[in-house]
């Protein structure tokens, strides 16, 4: 299906995307996750053909798309602020793509009715775009993108402008629709929860590069980099200094000394980034003083020495508590202070 090979793009002399390569397979939903400004929207526009890459190639079913103009690519695109045509009513908006394919009117009418039913907007045909709420507009945008039966669906932060409850509802509808259509989907968002809810695979984009790819479970288990760990909120990223103790390597940190078990070679006295995850069973025991306390519904968030932990019982401020943690290596190390 869709394949990107070493796509690069500069913007105003600065590299925005560097050597991006990935595939979206049949029936698969891939989420492109990244902070704002990470170049993810640009990547969608490149795939849609609305912008051109400086280098690299784009293939669909092994056919190079470099010379296929956007209107012949047959890719559906859903925007964050919908991009509905304000001069057309809902029917005409949804029918737009079908009209571009010169479908006969009865067929268009039938398709639009079915699609509006699918997004729970039956009877909205003659409404004006401006009369609709944000959620309704986003449903119309989805119906409009689905109508011409595209080979690939792309979403650019489709739920970004909606409030929390509406977001959850639409997310569930979207999951159901994507499962039904079986169209390969590329979904761009900065919200990890959306990504976890929808994605078969997640690509994490950071400073123009894909720094982590995998299923949601894989990424959660092993984020690899401190950026990914922080982005997904997997445990605390702490810094340790390597120390040899006999044959075993240990890392000295603010929270105690831990075994280093990551196979990779570390020099003595080197600084390493470590991921400290709270566990309930096995793991090292640490003691900390409660520096700050935050009520979090059924548990309490404890802050200590820049790290965050969750506890069930409410501790007192200044009290020392005991917790179990697992400490893992991350792939890149902090800069050595001079």
């Amino acid at each position: 299906m869709l394949e990107l090979k070493n796509i690069s793009k500069q913007y105003a002399g600065q590299p925005l995307l560097e050597n991006i390569s990935f595939k979206v397979k049949e029936n698969e939903t891939v989420c492109l996750l990244g902070a704002s400004g990470s170049g993810k929207s640009t990547l969608l526009k490149l795939i849609a053909g609305l912008e051109h890459p400086d280098a690299g190639s784009l293939l669909f079913n092994r056919v190079d798309l470099a010379h296929t103009p956007p209107h012949l690519r047959d890719f559906g695109l859903v925007f964050q602020d919908y991009g509905l045509f304000p001069h057309l009513d809902i029917f005409a908006n949804v029918a737009f793509g079908l009209r571009m394919k010169n479908k006969p009117l009865p067929e268009i009418k039938q398709s639009v009715t079915e699609l509006l039913a699918q997004v729970n907007l039956t009877g909205f045909e003659n409404r004006k775009v401006t009369d609709l709420s944000g959620g309704e507009q986003q449903r119309v945008a989805l119906a409009r993108a689905l109508a011409p039966n595209p080979r690939l669906l792309m979403f650019d932060e489709p739920l970004g402008a909606l409030d929390k409850n509406l977001k959850a509802d639409l997310l569930n509808e979207l999951r159901a629709i994507l499962r039904k259509t079986k169209t390969p989907t590329l979904y761009v968002t900065h919200d990890q929860e959306e990504a976890f809810a929808l994605a078969d695979r997640i690509l994490l984009l950071h400073e123009g590069k894909i720094i982590r790819a995998g299923t949601p479970e894989e990424i959660w288990q092993n984020p690899l980099s401190s950026f990914a760990a922080k982005f997904f909120g997997v445990g605390n990223v702490i810094v340790g200094r390597v120390r040899a103790e006999g044959k075993r390597l240990k890392a000295e940190t603010d929270f105690g000394t831990f075994d280093l078990k990551c196979g990779s070679k570390h020099a003595k006295a080197e600084l390493v980034n470590l991921l400290m995850k709270q566990t309930s069973v096995a793991g090292a025991e640490i003691k900390l003083k409660v520096e700050d306390l935050l009520f979090m519904k059924d548990q309490f968030q404890v802050k200590s020495r820049g790290a965050v932990f969750l506890v069930k019982e409410k501790p007192k401020l200044g009290q020392t508590i005991q917790l179990r943690v697992k400490v893992e290596c991350l792939h890149e190390n902090p800069e050595e202070e001079s």
């Binding site: 103009p69 012949l72 509905l84 304000p86 571009m100 409009r144």
Partner: protein, 547 residues
């Protein structure tokens, strides 16, 4: 309780601080002014036409038919050509960034602010330098395109720039090719702005006076020019009034349509998007380079040839027999200070500049005195203002020549003391002054006045310490508007001015109408001075708006 009463008292004081004078007092003098110098003259014009003989006289009908036809013909053609240049220019400015863009945009905007007399003189000078002969109609059309293109760029280009780029992208991804994107999305969304721009350009071309009079070679007459001819050259005031009525009906109709469409646009205003980018494909690069150069050439040539020609002797000073010394000269400027016997004036031509400046100063004084109270009342509108606002704007619908004609018909030419010229200018400038002041007054946050009031300022002190300092800018801008309008005003002035009291534009027209290189050169010199003055004023307004 006690505190509540105190706050209540403060609220009452705040309300009185809003408008320190009763509304009636604000409106009294502006309305009297309009009544005396606009509505009463208008009624006189109408009275003149309430005569079956005037209305149905075959020769009058013939003239009216011929002139109306030509007016529509030239306005239609000018509008078409303006869009021919204006649409690509709109695309250029709204979609692309390129070297020199701000300069080119400013360049295209200057001619609109220049007096029509200067535009006519500039085209004249360009032809003279290039040694070109063009048909009068061609020249008129070019001059119209020259100063109206910026309207298209502003309105259509503005609409194009505020169009959400996602709409076109969505259409493309849904399978529309470039042509269909334009037809199904871009064009329908631009239509209101497009129609509004067409109407406005057409209106300006329809009421064009100076350009037609000066470039038309004495043969081409629009309604506006014919009215002037029937007042001064072939006096027939009833016919002039009848043509004025005809013209008023057309201009009001166009203005009405325009305001209807324009209201639609303002309700659709979307946030602006950064859609402009450097040209990327080869075709885009060719378009940007070629069209930017074409625009630059078309706009620079007349603006530059005017000052050049004012320093260049290309023909004999008097008559054809004298020997021609081609070369640079400052004679044309020197001659402006000389009062020659047998010259066109009884005073040295430089007196025209003094007249113009005094009249402009008087116009500033009048229009600010009348415009400020109106703007103040309009900034806190009640139902009264809804009715009176269009009334203030109405003189905009009447043409300049018609305003002059009305004053003549109402007060007679014997009464045409110099004071009537700034009065006519004030009628024209007033709507602009009000529109420049009103948003500034309305934009002063009420909270500032409340804060001053709570700190103990009386309503008058609030005005003195809050409103006036904040409004200084807007007042200066409004004054400059009035000043610029007065400096360049030609139509009404030509009807009202006495031979020994010409303004700069009137003097330029007279010099241009006379043979000989010296007269021509002096026209160029005066035009250059007027152009420089106007550009200075524009720069002042622009600087003000950007600061």
């Amino acid at each position: 309780m006690y505190l509540g009463k105190r706050v209540n008292r403060l609220m009452v004081r705040k309300r009185s601080a809003r408008l320190p004078i009763p509304r009636f007092g604000l409106w009294l003098f502006p309305l009297l002014f309009l009544l005396a110098f606009f509505f009463y003259p208008l009624s006189k014009i109408l009275r003149l036409t309430f005569d079956a003989d005037v209305f149905t006289a075959p020769e009058n009908l013939q003239i009216a038919y011929r002139v109306t036809l030509f007016t529509f013909y030239q306005a239609g053609l000018s509008t078409l050509l303006t869009f021919f240049l204006g649409i690509p220019a709109s695309i250029l400015f709204s979609r692309f960034n390129f070297f020199g863009k701000p300069f080119l945009r400013a360049l295209t905007a200057i001619p609109f602010m220049l007096p029509t007399v200067v535009v006519a003189a500039a085209f004249n000078s360009a032809l003279s330098i290039l040694d070109l002969q063009l048909a009068p109609l061609t020249l008129i059309l070019l001059a119209h395109v020259f100063y109206n293109t910026t309207i298209v760029v502003r309105m259509v280009g503005g609409a194009l720039a505020s169009l959400d780029p996602k709409l076109e992208q969505a259409a493309r991804s849904l399978g529309a090719n470039s042509l269909r994107v334009w037809r199904e999305v871009t064009f329908p969304l631009l239509r209101p702005a497009l129609v509004a721009a067409i109407l406005l350009v057409f209106l300006f071309d329809f009421t064009s006076f100076g350009v037609i009079l000066l470039l038309g070679g004495g043969k081409l007459a629009t309604l506006e020019v014919e009215i002037y001819l029937r007042v001064l050259k072939l006096p027939n005031l009833p016919l002039a009034a009848w043509l004025a009525l005809l013209q008023l009906i057309f201009t009001l109709l166009i203005s009405f349509l325009y305001s209807k469409i324009n209201a639609k646009i303002t309700t659709q205003t979307a946030p602006r998007f950064a859609t402009a980018r450097p040209p990327q494909t080869f075709r885009e690069k060719i378009f940007v380079a070629a069209f930017a150069l074409l625009l630059a050439a078309f706009f620079i040539a007349p603006l530059l040839s005017l000052p050049i020609r004012s320093f260049a002797r290309l023909e004999a000073d008097r008559g054809d027999r004298a020997e021609v010394r081609v070369g640079l000269t400052a004679d044309y400027y020197k001659e402006l200070f000389v009062n020659r016997r047998g010259s066109l004036f009884y005073v040295p031509p430089v007196q025209a500049a003094i007249n113009s400046l005094s009249i402009a100063a008087a116009t500033v004084l009048f229009s600010l005195t009348l415009g400020f109270p109106v703007a103040l009342a309009l900034s806190r509108p009640t139902r009264l203002e809804k009715i009176l606002d269009p009334l203030i704007m109405l003189p905009l619908g009447a043409s300049a020549v018609m305003l002059g004609l009305g004053l003549i018909v109402a007060y007679g030419r014997a009464l045409a003391s110099p004071i009537f010229i700034p009065i006519a200018h004030t009628l024209i400038a007033l709507p602009f002054v009000v529109r420049a002041l009103q948003p500034a007054i309305a934009a002063i946050p009420e909270r500032l006045r409340q804060a001053a009031t709570v700190l103990g300022a009386s309503p008058f002190r609030v005005w003195q310490t809050i409103d006036l300092p904040i409004l200084r800018r807007a007042v200066l801008t409004a004054a400059t508007f009035a000043f610029t309008i007065s400096l360049g005003e030609f139509g009404a002035t030509l009807l009202l001015s006495r031979p020994e009291l010409p303004t700069i534009p009137v003097a330029i027209a007279r010099f241009l109408a006379q043979p000989g290189g010296l007269n021509y050169g002096q026209a160029m010199a005066l035009s250059t001075i007027l152009m420089a003055l106007t550009i200075l004023c524009i720069l002042f307004i622009e600087k003000d708006n950007h600061a």
